[in-house]
Symmetry: C2
Subunit: 374 residues, 2 copies
Amino acid sequence: MNFTINKEIMLNNLLVAQKALSTKTPAPYLQGVKLEVYQNELVMLTSNSDISIKLSVKHESLSVESTGEVLVPGRYFVEIIRKLDGDKVAVSVIENNMLRIVAGNSDITLNMMNVDDFPQIEFLMNDNPIRLDSKVMRSIIRQTTFATSVVENRPILTGVNIRVDGQRLVAIATDSFRLSQKVVDIPMNMENMNVVIPGRSLDELIKIMESNLEEILIHLDHKSILFEYGNVLFQSRLLDGNFPETSRLIPYEFPIVIKFSKNDLAVAIERASLLSSREATAAIVKLYLRSDNVVEITSNSPEIGKVVEEVFPVDKAIGIPIRIAFSAKYFLDALKTFLSDQVFVKFTGEIRPFVIEGENDPGLIQLILPVRTE
Amino acid sequence: MNFTINKEIMLNNLLVAQKALSTKTPAPYLQGVKLEVYQNELVMLTSNSDISIKLSVKHESLSVESTGEVLVPGRYFVEIIRKLDGDKVAVSVIENNMLRIVAGNSDITLNMMNVDDFPQIEFLMNDNPIRLDSKVMRSIIRQTTFATSVVENRPILTGVNIRVDGQRLVAIATDSFRLSQKVVDIPMNMENMNVVIPGRSLDELIKIMESNLEEILIHLDHKSILFEYGNVLFQSRLLDGNFPETSRLIPYEFPIVIKFSKNDLAVAIERASLLSSREATAAIVKLYLRSDNVVEITSNSPEIGKVVEEVFPVDKAIGIPIRIAFSAKYFLDALKTFLSDQVFVKFTGEIRPFVIEGENDPGLIQLILPVRTE
């Protein structure tokens, strides 16, 4: 195996491939990047327990003297390529299972791993993938994944449930204290699907969706889901089990509705959470709609002090005065998902889940369970 | 106590004062900021085991309704002031030893600490302080402090030795594996001084020297040193004991001198240290001046691989071929202190300390002890 390629092309593709590198693993071969060199193509493969990535590089700068395949230690290889000088890099296999990397004034020899240890991975493509606007896919991930559970006692809740039903796609995440739901219309009829994708996989997927490609293609299999984005194949395992039926959790009639400036509300909640005696991420604040149409956001920690913030709703609030307590972090997380400058906070009662919607965020609902106090 | 002041003025001064806040301390009162309010002056005081800070704020926006002094929990107070909206903030004492802070739409009440618990601190000023150009003081700190010892078995080496002798100031730091020395001329005859200032104190001092004041004044006492920088008094304890006599450690004749581009040399060392099997901070690299006037920077970790970097000296090197091994981190730390684009690396022998000097860094010497290998 012996090839040269533009250094930046090599690096940019490696930086995508490394998203599936294992950092700690009982299987050291999963810390490697597999390089497959063909006459006109360089393929990079990485895999960990959640995701596998395959990149096909067919760049004009690729010049292959001899083909072959190797498994190189991922972390060292990425760091070397990142730090190299020069426009191009020459990579070749030399004696004793060593890889030689030459660029600029650098001559580097790297011990390789046994390429036969790397697992055979099937990237399962079908003929009729779902095609989604990349922007839509990014917003689905950004607006739902944060609400997945991070504790593993109900593994199904660590994933995002994605259902396609005709021309409607619904994405739902919940950790049982809050719920995010995004509904998007898709341009053409697709095959129905109902899968649960690990939130961590989606967090990695969004990181590699940085080029300005318009479309992402989704290939579905019963055990895995494959995203095709330009020259990248990104495959994730699916979570087994039934995602809870959440539709009945979301109220549809709201006797109390308050319209806020998103920013005014966020800074008030941030300040109110400053004096919490709990960890900052566990601060509880209270919202009180006064009869004079001013909203108080308050917190009180007897050993530290108390905060009273006045927030003026954008319009006259609908409904009667209400007092409700909630996690400041959950509320702020939810607010961040809206593009709108103005949001509606909708209540059904003081101990009932409440909902946030954005003026210009069609299809997005954030639901939060209140906290009982005193 | 009851006053109002411009919020940004309050915050900017608090951010200086908080540099001497204790984070973990058996004495909770050292986690507080003492505020002393006089008719036309707000004084902030903080202190920890190393340093004490006193700020005098006499801003046109300060409006004092009633004077007094309080001790407020530092971390919460700083965070509150940082996050407040509005141009001005009103601070007053209310019943039950509470501090009330009002700004914009926020109304915050903070439990106070017992002001009598805060220690009496004397800030010892004398009539004839040493006056130093602020830029010079910053470069002394930046170019020496990093070389102090971080282990406490020889406490004196955790400090920077500063000696003034007539019109010469010498600053020296060493952890016994490397040594930094900066000599500056001072414009007028000063009283002699020979003190050792904790490196940590100087690290904090440089952080508050951000305004563009031309001068810093140094008041010396036998137990402490007081820096006067605008409206800030910054006092540090001194370290007891004798700083080692280092002048004989620095060679003055160098049979081998190589002139490098600082950047070329730094990137070669960085790359050579990539494949170290040790922690990145403990990587050892070798320098080899070949007879063809090319310098090789190499490293070799049998279990990972090896790196050979060629670096071309700026001029023909003086002296015979040499091989020497050293800590990559120590060399890179030293290189960073030079403003010069080109540096001289000067050797007396393969197992003798070597020296780095900059083309345009008069008075600055970085000395490094080589490492024996094989």
